[in-house]
């Protein structure tokens, strides 16, 4: 998505080259068991002044720094690499630091919720442990046998290309928490774990493919994927997640027959 400013929102007459400013309302789903709301989640709306170049994260910063310091959310690099600030913005999982306000219709209140399916700790911060538990289960590390070579493990460009797409994962959980099968009971391994297994299963240097396929050949493994493509749509890195899951399925079938 290229950031082209076609119709500046709010101010009709802006100078050439000037960044337009506008008021934007953020509707936040908040949860703070220590507040008077107790164990109930509640909606809170804030109206802040934003600029045409601002992202949702900038609006959240403004709320936290200028309006309500109790608002809690995760963010680290703020540039779409660390994967800390995945959240549900206007009903879709996105990274707050990669979503421009002008792209999510700032004329209406923008809803911001924590990602679904994981236990909320406070406001937009969720407990990522279930997510990382299934990530650890697929053994996301190189498995080899024999003596360690004295130089690099060589690989052709084609061999590298085979799993290039799934190396892009930043473990933000946007895919897993967009999956309706994961929402049901959270037992499904989830797209992110399968994507990271795919990264090693199709790596020519790795020898643990059989073990990883065995792990994912679970009642809660790849066979629970219903190909709804929510994960592919949610991925902020543009990984073809559903395709990767299908490739793992195919590898299992060719192994079994």
């Amino acid at each position: 998505m290229t950031a082209t400013l076609e119709a500046p929102v709010g101010s009709e007459k802006t100078e050439v080259g000037a960044v337009p400013s506008f008021e934007v309302t953020i509707k936040l789903r908040r949860y703070n068991p220590e507040s008077e709301h107790g164990e109930d989640a509640y909606w809170e709306e804030y109206t802040v002044l934003a600029h045409g170049t601002d992202r949702v994260l900038d609006a959240l910063h403004k709320i936290k720094w200028e309006h309500d310091g109790s608002l809690t959310f995760r963010r680290s690099c703020a540039h779409g690499i660390c994967g800390s600030d995945a959240m549900r913005i206007n009903g879709r999982n996105r990274l707050a630091c990669k979503t421009l306000l002008k792209d999510v219709n700032p004329n209406k209140p923008i809803t911001v919720e924590p990602i679904k399916g994981l236990p909320v700790i406070k406001d937009l911060v969720v407990d990522m442990e279930p997510f990382f538990a299934s990530y650890r289960e697929i053994m996301p590390f190189l498995i080899t046998s024999g003596n360690e070579p004295s130089k690099e493990r060589l690989q052709s460009a084609e061999q590298r290309e085979r799993f290039d797409d799934t190396t892009k994962c930043i473990l933000c959980a946007a895919c897993t928490s967009s999956c309706p099968v994961f929402w049901t009971d959270g037992q499904y391994f989830g797209p992110a774990a399968i994507v990271n297994a795919h990264r090693f299963i199709f790596d020519s240097r790795d020898e643990g493919a059989a073990q990883r396929l065995e792990i994912l050949n679970d009642k809660e493994g790849v066979w629970r994927c219903r190909t709804t493509f929510n994960c592919t749509e949610a991925c902020p890195r543009g990984i073809e997640v559903t395709k990767a899951i299908q490739e793992v399925k195919r590898a299992m079938i060719t192994r079994a027959f």
């Binding site: 949860y31 509640y42 809170e44 959270g186 629970r224 079938i253």
Partner: protein, 156 residues
């Protein structure tokens, strides 16, 4: 600047999470492959069935007790219908099973729904199989006007 509302019912944010023990087996793999394979076979069986019943000869007007009885007099149609019954029942039951797995949130609900599903499967499949194999177009105690004409061809 800020307004608060708790009117809409929101899910409890701190639902506990626990990962159940591993359930590794080829069961789901075979069930996935079966769905694809049986689907392809069912397309042939069902459209063949519809074509023979609705298009060939007099078409839909030819269907009556005698038409069905005549079909089941031949082992070919017995096998065809039996295969169609079994594949459709297993295919459908397996599909509903996955839907129950996806949508039932509590183990109790899942158990009850699946129990009802499997009971329905057994009743329909057993009854259907029984009918296909034991069907007698000319039962000895039936009244004459209820029987198809071919029941009388061998009689004096």
């Amino acid at each position: 600047m800020s307004t608060t509302s708790t009117s809409s019912p929101l899910a409890a944010p701190r639902d506990p999470y626990k990962r159940q023990k591993t359930t590794r087996s080829n069961y789901e793999l075979y069930s996935w492959v079966f769905m694809r394979a049986s689907g392809v076979v069912l397309i042939v069986l069902i459209f063949g069935h519809l074509f023979v019943n609705l298009m060939v000869g007099e078409g839909v007007h030819a269907i009556d007790f005698g038409f069905v009885a005549g079909k089941w007099a031949s082992p070919f149609w017995q096998v065809w219908d039996l295969l169609m019954l079994w594949l459709a029942m297993i295919h459908g039951t397996n599909g509903v099973r996955t839907i129950i797995n996806d949508y039932a949130q509590r183990d109790g609900t899942r158990l009850v729904l699946k129990g009802a599903l499997y009971l329905a499967f057994v009743v329909v499949t057993v009854l259907g199989t029984l009918v296909v194999f034991t069907f007698d177009p000319c039962p000895p105690n039936a009244l004459d006007y209820q029987l198809p004409s071919f029941c009388f061809t061998g009689r004096p």
